[in-house]
């Protein structure tokens, strides 16, 4: 080896050392912010999601979490806090919330059984539950469950964003990447290698099981806002087993869940992700966002071609976060501001009547339970005090 080559190797080593100091999101390292790109609950379809979280640190850690619905319904955007002891793991079914959690962990709302498809983000905070903090100790995963005739389970790891230690702005807006980064930048691209849709599969030594592949893909924006939603113009390229590369573009607002071969067309056999058309069983997908970075998850099932819509088992296609975005992404964990409440408005009709005032007096005197009209308990101390009665009288006279 010449001295020049040795010097090049030493310089390369130095370069790698510098590069290694730069953070990148990961599904396999503890982090300060966890993103679950797909949470689904639907009692009619048997869907539920079990969330697993663990504090891998040596001290207790508080978290602030927000469920964000794909349809941007403000009523379905739910926030909650958790406090995990050192080393403590917890798990809950999204449809049930915190029903089975140990005391003191927190109060997790149940997602509506009528249906929820969205994301979950959890950030480490100070003990106040609102101030984000750098604590790369969180690890998480989700298990997508289905009950019914063909029960199923498929698990994926949460995407972790390590904190930079900087604090750039307001507490509820997290800055991912960019010059004011509070957390790792979103990946420049996501790599996924699913089987292309409708690829024939002969499994077993004699091909005893003849099936076809079907993949569902979820693409979530790295940025998230409670009103209007973050939007990304997403580019998706696919390289097939013959080395041919094709691409398409799709607009995504917060979260898109779609069959793979309906991403680019309403007629799957015309899709660039349709196996029989390309003649290739598998594809190497590269997914990148424009104004927002994106995260992605794919679920593959092997279906009976004679009954393609029958429930089938699913498995997660493992994603690779590739590179880092130069542009920042902003995650707003705030919740919609609730409408102003009116003390004494028991039925929520926007006014306080004489009957409601009498109910309030009875609760204050102890002759009626608070459950008859919790709207009198303005400060949440489980009592109705004289000032709360006066506020209700004021609302009756002057309006809410």
């Amino acid at each position: 080896m010449s001295a020049r080559r040795l010097a090049a190797a030493l310089l390369l080593g130095l370069g790698l050392a510098v590069d290694a100091a730069h953070g990148a999101v990961s599904q396999e390292a503890p982090a300060s912010l966890l993103v679950f790109p797909l949470v689904r609950v639907d009692a009619s379809a048997g869907y539920d999601t079990q969330i697993q979280l663990a504090n891998l640190g040596e001290a207790a850690q508080t978290l602030r979490c927000v469920y964000a619905p794909a349809d941007l319904d403000p009523a379905a955007r739910l926030g909650f806090h958790l406090r995990l002891a050192a080393g403590q793991p917890v798990a809950w079914a999204a449809s049930l919330g915190s029903a089975d959690l140990p005391d003191g962990v927190g109060d997790i709302p149940a997602l509506p059984a009528s249906g929820f498809t969205g994301t979950l983000r959890c950030a480490a905070t100070l003990a106040d539950g609102s101030t984000p903090t750098a604590a790369d100790v969180l690890s998480g995963s989700a298990i997508l469950l289905r009950r019914g005739e063909v029960p199923d389970a498929a698990s994926y790891p949460a995407v972790g964003f390590a904190a930079t230690g900087a604090s750039a702005d307001t507490a509820e807006v997290l800055v991912l990447g960019g010059p004011m980064a509070e957390y790792d930048a979103c990946p420049a691209e996501i790599g996924l290698q699913p089987l292309l849709d409708a690829t024939p599969l002969g499994l077993g030594a004699d091909g005893v099981l003849q099936l076809e592949s079907a993949t569902t893909i979820a693409i979530a924006t790295c940025s998230s806002t409670p009103i209007g939603g973050a939007q990304a113009s997403v580019n998706i390229s696919v390289t097939n087993e013959f080395g041919q590369t094709l691409s398409t573009a799709k607009s995504v607002r917060e979260l898109l869940v779609s069959p793979l071969s309906r991403l680019d067309t309403s007629v799957p056999r015309n899709s660039i992700f349709y196996g029989p058309t390309s003649g290739s069983p598998s594809g190497n997908l590269r997914i990148s966002g424009g104004s927002s970075g994106v995260l992605a998850l794919a679920l593959t099932s092997y279906v009976d071609p004679a009954a393609p819509t029958a429930p089938a088992h699913e498995a997660v296609v493992h994603a690779q976060p590739l590179g880092t975005r130069e542009l920042p992404d902003l995650v707003d964990l705030s919740l919609p501001t609730p409408a102003p409440s009116c003390t004494g408005d028991c039925n929520g009709d926007g006014e306080v009547t004489i009957n409601e005032l009498i109910t309030g007096v009875n609760i204050a005197l102890g002759s009626a339970p608070l459950s008859q009209c919790p709207a009198f308990d303005a400060n949440g101390d489980d009592n109705v005090a004289i000032n709360e009665l006066i506020a209700a009288v004021g609302a009756a006279l002057e309006g809410c």
Partner: protein, 325 residues
């Protein structure tokens, strides 16, 4: 002199990669698929993808963990960004360079794939990712996992002895050619026999373990000793040990005297740490959760992603049946 220069340059590169660890989400040079099944109960769909923009060679060996560590080897050549998939039971018939033989009949074991250069010698440019989907033949129940990737250190002497972590030695005169195996694996998972959410069945995890040291050429399997620590949802900690020779696919209900049992640990979810015992080599694993009906039959499976933590301090050797000096 040549060896000294190589060692110095390798030392610089090793220092640069200090702290690097195995990964299933980045390009790597050695892929280990810890669980491949091709028997009467299941088949495995295997995928290897070239993430880079250049052509890359791959040398792979199926290693049967139930049949004396017997190996069946083949090579691939992947164009830029090219994915490749095949059924382990049936292999891949192709008119190109990528024919894959079927795995040995009844195989239960691992698949090991190594990036190679144009001459077929092991290389370390970190261009490969892989995944496996194990499908039950009875009901097409699936679980998947990403192959464990060992990244190249940047220096490789090109022989068929792969130096994984460690220092300069007689077998590894330029030091480590690949990242060391992890110092620890962490898994958050259901306890063995945990209740299913809103169901009357149970969940029990399984783990397939293969030592990082493996002499595939001479069919000489290694043994690893594993220290286990389990933390329940109340922060209580339980410990045990487990040894694995060659390869093992274990139900956690049968490990370490019931250490993982729901009745013993007292919570449905636990956090498990698996570490090589003092003096033991490293290991890699694939984890799945089996969902069983109240009658005991498996209804569904889910792959669980373990977290690798830290770099193991020991040296592991992988000896390939390549016939290279």
């Amino acid at each position: 002199m040549h060896r000294i220069l190589l060692s110095l340059a390798a030392l610089a590169l090793f220092a640069a990669s200090a702290g690097a660890q195995v990964s299933s989400e980045r390009g790597a040079s050695v892929l280990i698929f810890p669980k491949v099944v091709a028997d009467s109960s299941a088949d495995t769909v295997l995928q290897v993808t070239n993430l880079s923009g250049v052509r890359v060679g791959v040398f792979c060996s199926y290693v049967d963990g139930t049949d004396g560590w017997a190996a069946t080897s083949f090579t691939l050549r992947l164009e830029p960004a090219q994915p490749l998939s095949w059924s382990a039971a049936r292999g891949r018939e192709a008119g190109d360079d990528n024919s894959v033989p079927p795995a040995p009949a009844g195989m239960r074991g691992e698949l090991l794939c190594v990036e190679t250069d144009t001459a077929g010698a092991p290389a370390g440019d970190n261009r490969l990712v892989g995944q496996a989907t194990v499908a039950a033949l009875a009901d097409a129940d699936l679980f998947s996992y990403a192959a464990v990737g060992l990244q190249g250190s940047g220096f490789n002497d090109g022989d068929d002895v792969l130096c994984v972590g460690g220092d300069v030695s007689d077998s590894c005169f330029i030091g480590p050619e690949y990242d060391p195996c992890p110092a620890e694996w962490l898994i958050t998972h259901p306890a063995a026999g945990a209740g299913q959410p809103q169901g009357d069945g149970t969940v029990t995890p399984r783990v397939a373990i293969t030592p990082c040291s493996q002499n595939v050429r001479d069919a000489d399997p290694a043994t690893v000793d594993i220290d286990i620590a389990v933390t329940n949802a109340f922060g209580e900690r339980f410990t045990g040990t487990q040894s694995v020779t060659c390869w093992a696919d274990l139900s956690l209900g049968d490990v370490a005297g019931g250490l993982f049992d729901r009745a013993g640990v007292g919570s449905d979810v636990v956090q498990t740490s698996l570490k090589p015992a003092a003096g033991s080599g490293g290991f890699v694993l694939a984890v799945e959760a089996e969902y069983r009906a109240s009658g005991g039959a498996v209804q569904a499976r889910a792959g669980l992603a373990p977290l690798p933590r830290g770099a193991g301090s020991g040296a592991d050797l992988i000896v390939l049946p390549m016939g290279r000096p």
